[in-house]
Amino acid sequence: MTTARATLARQPRADLLSWITTTDHKRIGILYLTTSLVYFGVAGLLALAIRTQLARPANDFVGVHTYAQLFTLHGTAMIFLFVAPFALGLANFLLPLQIGAPDMAFPRLNATSYWMFLFGGLVIFAGAATNEGAAATGWTAYAPLSEIKISTGLGQDLWIVGVFIVSVATILTSINFITTVFVYRAPGMTMWRIPIFAWEMVATSLLIFMAFPALAADLLLLFVDRNFGGHAFDPAYGGSALLWQHLFWFFGHPEVYVMILPYFGVISEIIPVFSRKPIFGYTGIVLAAFAIAGLSMGVWAHHMFTTGAVDDPFFSFMSFLIAVPTGVKFFDWIATMWGGSISFETPMLFALGFLVNFLLGGITGVMIASPPIDFQAHQSYFIVAHMHYVLGGGSLFAIFAALFFWWPKMFGRKLREGLGAWSFWLLFIGFNVTFLPMHFMGLEGMPRRVYTYDATGVLPLLNAIATAGSYLMAIGVLVFLWNVVVSAFDRTPVGDDPWEANSLEWATTSPPPEYNFDRLPPIRSDRPVFDARHPERDPSAVR
C-alpha cells in the first residue's frame, strides 16, 4: 500500500502534456472553470459592445449585421459556454471530494466531455471567421429564420454543430455525476448526508438528462433541413414553424434550472458556513430541488404564450407552481441565518447579493408567467431584465461566491478580502444600474434584439443609464482579475479549512492530493468536518 501511494504521489506534474491527458476530476474541474471563465470574458466583451451600441439611439458603433451576431454570440456563449459549464466544472471539482470518493465514476468519459465542450465552443465562435459571419438568429435560433433560405451563411451551420457537440458533452457529464453520487459515496455517507450542493447536482443532472435530448433532436432536424433538403420547419412543405419552438423550449426552460439549481446548491453551502449554523430544512430544500426539476418539464410553452397556439392556462399554472418550491428555498436560507452568528466575508457578500437580485428575477418571473402580462412583456426589454436578474444577478453572483469560497481549496491560497469587497460592490451596483432600467424600457415598448430605438420619450435616458452600469460591472470584473493576479503571489498557506466549513472537501489538504484523501473523518451527519471540529457534540442532535 505504501508503495502504491508513493507511485501515485510521484504522478502530478505541471507540464502541458499532463494537463491535456489528465483524467483527474480536480484538474478537469479547473480546466472547465478556466475555459468557461474565458468564454465569460469574451461574452462579457460582446455585451459591452451591445451596450455601447445602445448608449444612444441611432448609434453607429457597430453595423446592423455585426449587432445581430453580437447578441447571438453573447447569449449562446453565456448560456451554453459559461453559466451551465461553470456549474459542471465546479461539480467536477467538488462532487467526489464532497462525497469522499477518489474520482468520478467514469474519469475518461469526464475528460472527453470537457474537450468536447471546449471544441464545441470554438466551433460556434469559428463562425465569426467565415465570409457571412457568425450565426445571427439569436441564441434561440428560431426556425424558419434559421433555415437555409433566410440564413444562408456557414456561421449558422457551425453554430448548430458547436451547440450539438456541447449538448452531447453535457448529457455525458450528467450521467457521470448521477452515477458518481449514487455509487461512489464514502462509507457512512448515506444519500441523506451528502451536501446540498451534491443533491442539487443530482437534480441538475436529472434535468440535463431529461431536457437536452430535445435540443439535440431540434438541432439535428434543423441541420438536415439546411444541408440535406429536409422540411421539418417549412410550412410550405408541410413542416411546422411551431415545432422548433416546442422542441427548443422543451429543452430551453429546464435549461434555465440547469443554470440555477447548482447555484442554489452553492448558496446552500455558503450561507450556513458564514452563519455558523447547519442548513435549515435540509430535507425540504432537497425535495424543493426535485419539485422544481419535475415542474420545469411541464412549463416550456410559457415562452410561447403570444403564439396563440398553446394551452396558456396549463402552462401558466405550472409556472406559478414553481414559485412554491423556490420560495421554500428562500425561507430555508433566511431561517439558516436566523439566530446565527453572521459574518460578511466576500463569499457571503456575493451570496447575499444573490438573494437580493434573484428575488426580483423570481418575482418578475411569476409576473410573466401570467399570459395577460406576458402579452405586453414578451420579447421586450422586460424579458431581458427578468432573465438577467435570474442568470446575472442570480447565477453570476453565486459564481463569484463560489470562486471566492472554494479558491483556497483549489489553489491553496485565499483571494484578497478587501479587493473582493470592492468587486462585490462594483458588480452589485453596476448590475442593478444596468438591468433595473430595462424593466421600464420593456414596459414602455422597447423590443429586444434591436440595434436602435425611439429617440423621443424616456428610452434614451434609460439606455444611457444601463450602458453606464455595464461599464461599472466591467470594472468589477477587472478588480476580480487583479485579485487573482495579486493573490497568486501570496505564499501564505491557508490550511485545510480556512472558513471553518462543514462538508467533506474541507477535510483534505488545500489543494487536495491526486487521490483526494489521506484519511476521512467519521461521517455521521451531513457536516462531517463540523462534527470533527466539535467532538463534544452529538452528530445526530437537531438543536
Partner: protein, 218 residues
C-alpha cells in the same frame, strides 16, 4: 412613464390586462418587501460583533410546522393569482361573434400589409411605415399571419402582442377606446431590419373611419 409603469391602456382588452398587472405588481411588491425585510432584519440582528465571545449559536435544523406553513401559504397565493389571471386572459382572448371591422394583417421581411374586408389593402415597408386605421369603440377582428419568418404584431399602448407565424393564422379582437396615433413594432427578431419594422395605429371616430374606408387611403 405611465401609471404603475405601464402605458395608459387604450383598448377594452388592455384595461383587463392593466388591472391584472396592478394585482401582480402589488403582490410582487408585498412579497419582495417581506423577504428583503426578513433578510435585512436577520443580517442586522445577528451579525457577528467584533470581539464578541465566540459561542456556537443554537444549531437548529428543522421545524416541520414552519416549513409546511411556508409551503402552503405561497401555494394558496399562486392559486389566487392564477384565478385572476385566468379570468383576465379569458376576457382578453374572447372573440365577439360579429366584429364590426375585419383586417387581415400580413407580416413579412420587413413590412406589413393591412387588408380591410370590403376596403383597401394598405402596405408599407420599414422605409415607408404603414398605418393601420381603426374605428373607436368598435371591435376590430385581426387575422394575422406571416409570409416568411416569425414576426410579432405589438402595439405597446394596447398592452398586447401576438406572433405572426408562417403557415398559421391567428385571430384576435381589439376594441380601441381612445382616439390617437400609437406606435407599433415587430417584436419577434426577424433579421437585420427587425428594429425598423414598425407601423402605426390611428384610432379615429367611427364616422371618420367610414369616410376613410370609402375614399381610400390618401
Amino acid at each position: 412613464m405611465g401609471r404603475s409603469w405601464w402605458p395608459q391602456p387604450v383598448t377594452t382588452q388592455a384595461s383587463l390586462m392593466a388591472s391584472n398587472w396592478l394585482l401582480f405588481l402589488c403582490a410582487g411588491a408585498v412579497v419582495a418587501l417581506i423577504i428583503w425585510g426578513l433578510v435585512a432584519f436577520a443580517l442586522l440582528r445577528w451579525r457577528r460583533k467584533r470581539g464578541a465571545a465566540t459561542t456556537l449559536p443554537a444549531q437548529l435544523r428543522t421545524n416541520i410546522a414552519l416549513e409546511i406553513t411556508w409551503t402552503l401559504v405561497p401555494l394558496v397565493l399562486v392559486c389566487i393569482l392564477f384565478i385572476y389571471t385566468y379570468r383576465a386572459e379569458a376576457g382578453v382572448e374572447a372573440l365577439v361573434p360579429y366584429p364590426d371591422v375585419t383586417v387581415a394583417v400580413n407580416a413579412y421581411r420587413w413590412g406589413w400589409s393591412f387588408g380591410y374586408r370590403g376596403g383597401p389593402t394598405v402596405q408599407g415597408s420599414f422605409s415607408d411605415v404603414p398605418q393601420l386605421v381603426l374605428p373607436r369603440n368598435e371591435t376590430t377582428r385581426i387575422i394575422l399571419t406571416s409570409s416568411d419568418v416569425n414576426h410579432a404584431f405589438w402595439v405597446p399602448a394596447f398592452l398586447f402582442k401576438r406572433d405572426a407565424i408562417p403557415g398559421r393564422i391567428t385571430v384576435f379582437d381589439l376594441r380601441p377606446e381612445k382616439d390617437g396615433t400609437y406606435v407599433g413594432h415587430c417584436a419577434e427578431f426577424c433579421g437585420y431590419a427587425h428594429a425598423l419594422m414598425g407601423f402605426s395605429v390611428k384610432v379615429v371616430p367611427p364616422a371618420d373611419y367610414a369616410r376613410w374606408l370609402k375614399s381610400g387611403p390618401s
